[in-house]
Symmetry: C2
Subunit: 250 residues, 2 copies
């Protein structure tokens, strides 16, 4: 039975966390909204009056009779169905806990370019975005990624949960990808503090199905409509030159 993924076409966004799980497992799925008429079907499932359990927002997944919304909830389901999480309760909860922590980081990354309202253009909240981004770069990225680095160090297996790859590993790979795209200078500065995390990122990228996916047209490129966006002014300032010509306040 094929899964149906519903997500905005044109961006990786939150849908990407689901795609990576489906791809790693070699699951058969349709990325519905990227096909003809798919976007209206997606909107119908959200807004149609006859849908008994409509999702609040994409992504959502159809699996047989189930219609499952909320990224982390979809992964909770797929973790079992695709064996991308432990079957035992303690490991299942731990994997989900890490996923939810990753989701918090993703929310904060989104709000760096939209600190006032998602309904406004970036250009209409640029000043606030600069302020929020500075705190995100200087406090939040290191706090979150430092946490995951500690988890990897404590576990000692090279994976976040137990001995094998689980869906939080895939999601963390995606977060590292996204943060490197959006904050290349800030991430370069932080990289020496997270060797285990970067090693996990690289191992995920090299997994045969993930590598095939990443080089396929199914993988959309990052762009300026998604969660992770690159605006030079939101990344860390470039290192000062030795000329000392830089103003004291950047």
């Amino acid at each position: 039975m094929a899964y149906e993924l519903y997500y905005w076409p044109g961006i990786q966004g939150r849908g990407e966390f689901v795609r990576l799980a489906l791809e790693e497992a070699g699951a058969e799925y349709a990325d519905v909204a990227r096909g003809r008429g798919g976007e209206s079907e997606m909107l119908r499932l959200m807004n149609g009056e006859s849908v008994p359990r409509p999702p609040f927002a994409p992504p959502f997944l159809r699996s047989g009779d189930l219609l499952i919304g909320q990224t982390a909830n979809i992964l909770l389901y797929l973790g079992q169905a695709l064996r991308l999480a432990p079957a035992a309760e303690d490991g299942r909860l731990w994997a989900h806990q890490l996923q939810l922590t990753t989701a918090d980081l993703v929310d904060e990354a989104h709000d760096t370019h939209h600190p006032i309202a998602s309904s406004l253009y970036y250009e209409d909240q640029k000043r606030e975005a600069r302020r929020r981004s500075r705190h995100f770069r200087e406090e939040r990225i290191a706090k979150y990624l430092g946490y995951f680095e500690r988890i990897l160090e404590r576990g000692g297996t090279g994976h976040l949960v137990g001995e094998a790859l689980t869906y939080p590993d895939l999601s963390l790979f995606q977060v590292i990808e996204g943060l490197r795209y959006a904050f290349p200078r800030a991430m370069a500065r932080l990289s020496s503090a997270m060797p285990r995390l970067l090693a996990l990122h690289d191992r995920v990228a090299e997994r045969p199905r993930i590598a095939a996916y990443l080089s396929s047209p199914r993988r959309l490129p990052f762009n300026q409509q998604g969660i992770f966006r690159y605006y030079e002014e939101l990344d860390a300032p470039a290192p000062k030159t030795s000329s000392g010509a830089a103003a004291p306040c950047g």
Copy 2:
């Protein structure tokens, strides 16, 4: 076996969603950080080097050998343990999906007073808070609560999930309480559009164990340190008087 809840003392915050589930079920629990030495024990569990699966942030729950973090994840667990969610997979996932949607609303409510950084005082992001709050009041509250109202209408049972009370009902009660505290004028204006939601709120408040809890010293009052805070300038402007003396831009 008693549960141990760990959360910042002095505020309802995200811990309150867990407290409401424990109270409704009549579960035995200790609110550890509110007791002597409890806050340092909480910090040790987060930061201590010997904790194999440290939570990123409070709240977290100890249940026997399990240490469970992330509010929605705790409720996923308690939903089964305390029979506050369906046992069947579809109902379990649906309840969790609604909880995660509620959590998104709670995050947005928090960011109305902290749109730039949690590490800054409200006073240092007051201007941005006014802007963000306006969008939250005028777009987001109605979008989220309108969604839950539709779910109640479609279900027709007076509960979000199935025929009986589940943990998302309790959480939505708390969100209504919090929004009414933080945005009394905005909520008063919206109230006619959500009769089912307000009826559910009232039924939750009248449940014997919840009513007993709400009038006990265990229920902390809302205050200006929590997620839901009342700042007059962030609520909707007062209705204009007929004198026409109000400035054209509020």
